[in-house]
Symmetry: C2
Subunit: 164 residues, 2 copies
């Protein structure tokens, strides 16, 4: 891994810093969005985003290296590869929905949006994402904090134990 | 607004692109995190993040200009100002929780996290954020898409009408 400020960020004891480090940068979020809505081939990403080829290539490589995308031979043209979301990448749908809903509500400029995120089943907009406590209470912006993990057997160590 | 690639991004008919444009960059997400966990003064942000003063100053100004933070006189030292989250800024808590939970689950390196996001009321970790349909069905990574907004009286136009 490259040393420097960005690495320090990932070393931080903060899962937000790790996420932003791994995703890479804002453009990468848009690449991930494209992958969600169906882009798989280099030229499909390029056409949607209008990125220079060398920049797009670097960003896609980074997303593959981070395990967000994986490559596989393109069934239509086996000499070429296509980019597919991994499970890790797919689970970023929560972040995408959160960014969409915030942008939709608070960034109405420069013109009203003509698209929305909908349920594929019935075409209806999704419910608003709401952080909640384990018992279902809605957690507002002032209702959470960061705290030291209480070292009971954690989910992670239980998973590890299960593998042994 | 400055012209260029970044502006094109914000003009896009995509609320994700707007959000990332408005938030600015990844460091800004960490500034917003600091504001959530209590930073208000320039030197508090600086101490936590170790950013150069000129860079920090530019980032804070951008967040104020975008309406995510606002400034007010610091009650302790009225000649100085402090930075406070606006309602628009506070509503980014959903994005922060989504980034935290994803990083916690999928970015376990370089060492296990020692902190977690908890409910201030009882210190328990939050429930996992799950996108859902209006009727409560869980929406997985393959269950949503972008679609043209059906132009029935939208929530936005209803809000506008209510203001007249």
């Amino acid at each position: 891994m490259v040393k420097g400020k960005r690495t320090d960020l990932a070393d931080a004891d903060c899962a937000i810093a790790r996420s932003v480090q791994v995703i890479g940068d804002w453009w990468s979020i848009l690449l991930i969005r494209e992958a969600f809505i169906g882009a798989q081939r280099f030229n499909e990403f390029q056409k949607s985003l209008g990125l220079a080829k060398n920049i797009l290539s670097t960003r896609l490589k980074k997303l593959v290296a981070e395990g967000i995308l994986r490559t596989e031979p393109d069934p239509a043209q086996p000499a070429y590869k296509r980019y597919v979301l991994t499970r890790k990448g797919e689970q970023l749908h929560v972040v995408l929905v959160a960014l969409w809903q915030w942008g939709e509500e608070f960034c109405p400029e420069p013109f009203e949006l003509t698209r929305e995120i909908v349920d594929v089943r019935d075409g209806e907009p999704l419910a608003k994402l709401r952080p909640a406590a384990k018992d279902g209470r809605v957690i507002g912006p002032r209702d959470f904090t960061l705290a030291d993990i209480r070292r009971k057997p954690s989910a992670t160590s239980r998973r590890r134990a299960a593998k042994v």
